[in-house]
Symmetry: C2
Subunit: 153 residues, 2 copies
């Protein structure tokens, strides 16, 4: 069980709501953007720092949080003549965040568009067909968001 | 065009990345939980405040941000003997956030589970079939996350 940190909103350590539990990790400022960078293939501290323009101590703190939460894992690498360093990679839990980031991206494309259009397109790897994020039933069929209900247990 | 506020991460007012533009609104602490409450049918200031245990001035600030961003709209209501008040409702852009919140919920269910299981189930309204959030191609077929690529334009 990864260490838990109190980072956002919820007033106790184990909120009932899964959205709140997710936001304990992802709701922290910069967490999502650090993850976006790792998804985009930036794995080294210096690469992420330079991409985000974030203070090194803050980035260090966010990476530690994401590793403790089991979303990123570290790997040691060593450039000739340098000391060994850590690079950062998605765990399975990290990869499972892809729909969260893609849903944010899709919403931004639609509701906070920029004049020159989306900077990133989502496509199927082999066919280049467009892909969107949505709701799917247990038969693999898309369900309109307005037909989805959330039931309390 | 709704007013824009600098609320998270990005170092300028119009980041290229749609994830960053979305997080300018949604990355602010409490924003997602306020939206979750409105999705759950809480529309009045006092209901949301009591549900979240958030300071009134902070809630007021978040609601203002979400209205300015075009995600919530206000409606006036008046209880007998009281002054007119505002209630808060999702706009179309707000409704379009459903996959974002559901993706966070799904991830929390899986990777930050609580012993007694999920507190909320996602179901199709008429059939009660389980629903999940995922990737869908332009033919309406589900695509595994690992087959989705993000292409820079």
């Amino acid at each position: 069980m990864p260490a838990r940190r109190q980072v956002s909103g919820p007033t106790n350590d184990e909120p009932t709501c899964s959205i709140e539990r997710s936001l304990q990790i992802l709701g922290e400022r910069w967490s999502m953007l650090v993850l976006r960078d790792v998804f985009a293939g930036r794995h080294r501290f210096a690469e992420i720092q330079s991409s985000l323009g974030i203070a090194p101590n803050l980035l260090s703190d966010r990476l530690k949080l994401l590793v403790e939460a089991g979303v990123l894992r570290t790997q040691t690498y060593q450039e000739p003549g340098s000391r060994p360093r850590q690079s950062y990679h998605l765990t399975e839990a990290g990869h499972d965040l892809r729909p969260v980031l893609a849903a944010l991206q899709q919403w931004g494309d639609r509701h906070r568009p920029r004049p020159s259009g989306p900077s990133v397109l989502r496509r199927v790897r082999d066919t280049s067909r467009p892909v969107h994020v949505g709701f799917i039933d247990d038969d693999g069929r898309e369900v309109p968001g307005s037909d989805v209900v959330m039931l309390s247990t």
